[in-house]
């Protein structure tokens, strides 16, 4: 956040009286949310999910916790819930990648010449590991990696306890390491401060 622009919480508070102000939340965060949604579901579904995410956020702005200065965890939480309606799409694409090495999600963004052959084996195994995870574990893992959320923010985003976030990340990572061949079994897990 730059020094001169108001925090998301201030924008949202104002949007309760002046709804059009909410457009600023879209301008600040839509690109990041859309990239996240595309990485999970692909370009085709992303437009619907992103539009619905911000509309849902707009309708829920009266309940936004104004002590949260950045709205990103909140938006990621809404987006993750909506992504959950497209589990089959997500699984179908991950399965395809795992089986064939062709990823329908990244295809529109990958030049034909760039085959990235060396990385392909890893990507196929990652896809296999991700599709095998329980949906709740995949949600948490991708929020803290692709979404860059702290454990506390992921807990806030999904309405679960921080301890649940921690255990899901740990289990999901164990699964992925197993799939990748146990390359780094001792990587430490970092915990976010729990603010009273």
């Amino acid at each position: 956040m730059s020094e001169t622009s108001p925090a998301d919480s201030a924008v949202i508070a104002r949007s309760r009286q002046e709804p059009e102000v909410f457009g600023e939340i879209f301008r600040r965060h839509a690109a990041e949310i859309k990239r996240f949604v595309i990485r999970r579901l692909g370009l085709d579904v992303a437009e619907d999910v992103v539009a619905e995410t911000f509309l849902a956020a707009f309708h829920q702005r009266g309940r936004y916790d104004l002590s949260r200065h950045t709205a990103l965890p909140w938006l990621y939480g809404i987006a993750t819930n909506l992504i959950g309606r497209h589990k089959r799409t997500e699984a179908r694409q991950l399965n395809l990648l795992a089986r064939t090495g062709v990823d329908p999600v990244t295809e529109p963004f990958t030049p034909r010449s760039d085959e990235r052959l060396s990385a392909q084996a890893v990507q196929r195994r990652l896809a296999a590991a991700l599709v095998a995870l329980p949906a709740g574990h995949r949600d948490v893992l991708l929020l803290v990696t692709w979404g860059g959320l702290s454990y506390a923010e992921a807990a806030e985003a999904l309405g679960i306890r921080i301890g649940t976030v921690r255990s899901r990340v740990n289990r999901a990572r164990a699964r992925i390491r197993e799939e990748l061949g146990g390359t780094d079994p001792t990587a430490p897990v970092i915990e976010e401060v729990r603010h009273g």
Partner: protein, 332 residues
Amino acid sequence: MDDLARLNDFRSEVPARLDLRAEEERLLAGMSAPARPDFRRLGLRAALAGGLAAAVGMAVFAVRGGPAPAPPPPVIRTVAAVELLTRAAERAGSRPELRPRPGQFLVFRSQSMDSAESDGQIWLSRSKRTIWLPVEGSSVGGVVREEILAPLPYPGRPLPPAAREEQARAGRPGRPERAADFDHRAEFLRSDYAYVSELPADADGMRRHLYTRLPFDGLQDYEAWNRVGGLLQESYLPAAQRAALFRAAATIPGVVTVKEARDAAGREGIAAAMVSPLGVREEYVFDPETYDYLGRRGVVVDAGRAGAPVGSVVSSSAQLEVSVADSAPDVE
């Protein structure tokens, strides 16, 4: 490359710059449609599940014509709040000052109890912790060591199965861990010593600081009160700023006094407090003789909003010790 790095690399070809026109048009169209308030979501269940987020929604609802909150219990005398905070301000300089230098750490030892929630179940989660915070900069550079204490039932409810994990871990001292992965706080919410040392040392200036960028939406005084807490808990202000903070806090509308309060460690004191949108009286507890800050406590005054009996304690903390250290423990 470890598993997380590989995962971060996975599908990273998706660019950061994306066409958003279709989504923006749909949002703008949806925003101009007539709004329908969602009354169902203002119920007790939502308030418990969503914590303060739901509570803030309820408060806005109340401000817009809902029932007025119940009058505070008779134990409270509003005029005395100014007196209490003024005394705390006057005594702010009576203790030997800590003078941490750049590169050192402020060490806070505390105990706390806060509500925790999982799968729609709620209970009170308790812990003891020591946190080493850098004199300058965010908590990312800090280290925390936490010991989980046995959880307690949320008042009026049984201890749910979801609390068992904490029960099993209770009493085992934790290992030192990084205090935070990152710190998104706005500049004006910083609470490191280098920053708070530069805050205004007069009540007016401090009051402006507490209200920085707060919209006047009916919740601003409670937000400002919350920010006072942000500067009291795991934060150490030089005496001049501490005195200004207490004088500024005394000017916040709605601050009341509680004659008999108690912190998370059971120490008795006198408190300055404000009732939150969730129907909980958020108290800052002071020693009745020295007026040192002891900790905070949340006491239910509106059973309907808080989802717990009036008078029950739903959160507390005790600041047990503040000291200066040259270094923080190593993080594994």
